[in-house]
Symmetry: C2
Subunit: 334 residues, 2 copies
Amino acid sequence: MVSTRSREVHLVNRPDGLPTGSDFAIVDTTIDGPGRNEVQVRNLWLSVDPYMRGLMGTTRTYVDPYHLGDVMTGGAIGTVEISNHPKLAEGDLVLSNHGWRDRFVANGDGVHPIDPNLAPPQAYLGVMGMPGFTAWLGIHEIARLEAREAILVSGAAGAVGSVACQLASRMGTKVVASTGSDDKVKWLEDNATVEAFNYRKTKHLYRQLVKICRDGFHVYFDNVGGDHLEAALMSMRNHGRVVMCGMIGQYNAEHPPAGPSSLIVAITKRLTMRGFIAFDHAELEPRFQAEMAGLIASNQIRWTETVYDGLENAPAAFLGLFSGANTGKMLVRL
Amino acid sequence: MVSTRSREVHLVNRPDGLPTGSDFAIVDTTIDGPGRNEVQVRNLWLSVDPYMRGLMGTTRTYVDPYHLGDVMTGGAIGTVEISNHPKLAEGDLVLSNHGWRDRFVANGDGVHPIDPNLAPPQAYLGVMGMPGFTAWLGIHEIARLEAREAILVSGAAGAVGSVACQLASRMGTKVVASTGSDDKVKWLEDNATVEAFNYRKTKHLYRQLVKICRDGFHVYFDNVGGDHLEAALMSMRNHGRVVMCGMIGQYNAEHPPAGPSSLIVAITKRLTMRGFIAFDHAELEPRFQAEMAGLIASNQIRWTETVYDGLENAPAAFLGLFSGANTGKMLVRL
């Protein structure tokens, strides 16, 4: 059995508040070649995602937290270097969840071939992958958005938000997009039929929302929580739906921040607020993938990426998510 | 046309914070006898309800706010004194929404006969009326509670909560009831199959909930908001449902209080939080009334009342709602 060198990013400290580079360590290691039914994969693209912050503490949520001293697991696209698995061949492009490392050996059953004819490989970490699926679920399954409705999307230029905006606007809805920079506003206006604004330049969020959408929103797709959720609740129409997808503004809070003071309107406006996690809905993933592949093939969906190069920059890419350094999907290229 | 003397309670000041007696005035008036299709009704029982606080400001919610200088409208049970309406006869017991006054004249179409053989007249303001319907909707239509689930009810000894507890426990669910006095705990334990506790004697609400129901709640029926909602969210099971019925703890806040700092668990636990108002569901009221009449006839539901005597005490009865002065339905007897 041949040993091969690899490098991994380990979580070595559980952060309290915003993580720093010293919470991670780049570790040189060697891996043994694949055994029966196993494959050896060399990663090409690593995913960094906001949800990972939630796994860096000690609390079990919907999955176990990361183990201290172990690899930051997560989505990655790689190429099969050696295969002892009947369904995978050398050179196959594969999606896996083994995370931030150059190479790994694993049972081939947990390594999924992707079709680069449908989309570029790294799109399987974005528009064709978990973030795209999350956006699709939020719009169609959780909000059950309908034509001629009005929807507000926060974090609108992110991997999830940018897809949600486009899926919504394709339906003939009025889409209002909140994002954190003028460049992101421009990207959204150039690539999605939305009315975008830079919330960092907005003095009074609620008044801004009323100005843009006087009659209020049928749906709010929340990726940020905090002030956005508070203002959005006040801006909802009666019987509106709030898609609780993410609260990136709160993931690094050292103490749980106060919730929206406007929550009482959920009663008077008879709102439905629903939290969801993509992996609960795996049975819908094939339908999503078929639909998204069709949209990509017919050039009906746009996306962009923010790329950091080198495994050693995975922590920086991850931290960039919390300062809004990414437009579209944040990726690490190896 | 004969004129008759009556007295009314007017809202004369919009309170900022907790209302006081001086926000109301007892006004002597005379009413003209009924014209064509009209009836003259003498009220016997007035309802005071927490929702009324929401109509004392200037904000339109699901209905218009009270007019300053006009009568506090709301549910009342009375007897027809004079009828010019083909479907109502002198002596009929009727439910109306003309509020805090001794007598009124109105079109008979908006005055609804009640059947005192099914329940005592004042029960049509409680267990057989809007509060009972609200509890029934929350349990069956909003939560869609199922057998063998665990449910937490706050404000459990109130007009809504006490019915919600019983409807839930009848289904073979585990019911945990939070209430504000030892007497209310005793009433609940004597009359409903629940595990009740006095939250005023509870140092740490979340820990108390975990102690009583280690595996967490499938459903939280929220009548109070605030700390209860915050602790309940933390105590929910994955995929739980939060019935947002009321937030009595917040109706008198001078500034909107902070929301639950635990709201983020709505995502990680994939909760559905849904606000509702009974009058959206009028099509279900006949079904509710038939079911509740059956439960009353077979002695399968219990209720109690807290009664203030005299029109002039309607404001005091109303204010008593916010200090927890009532066990069961708060009523004013004329």
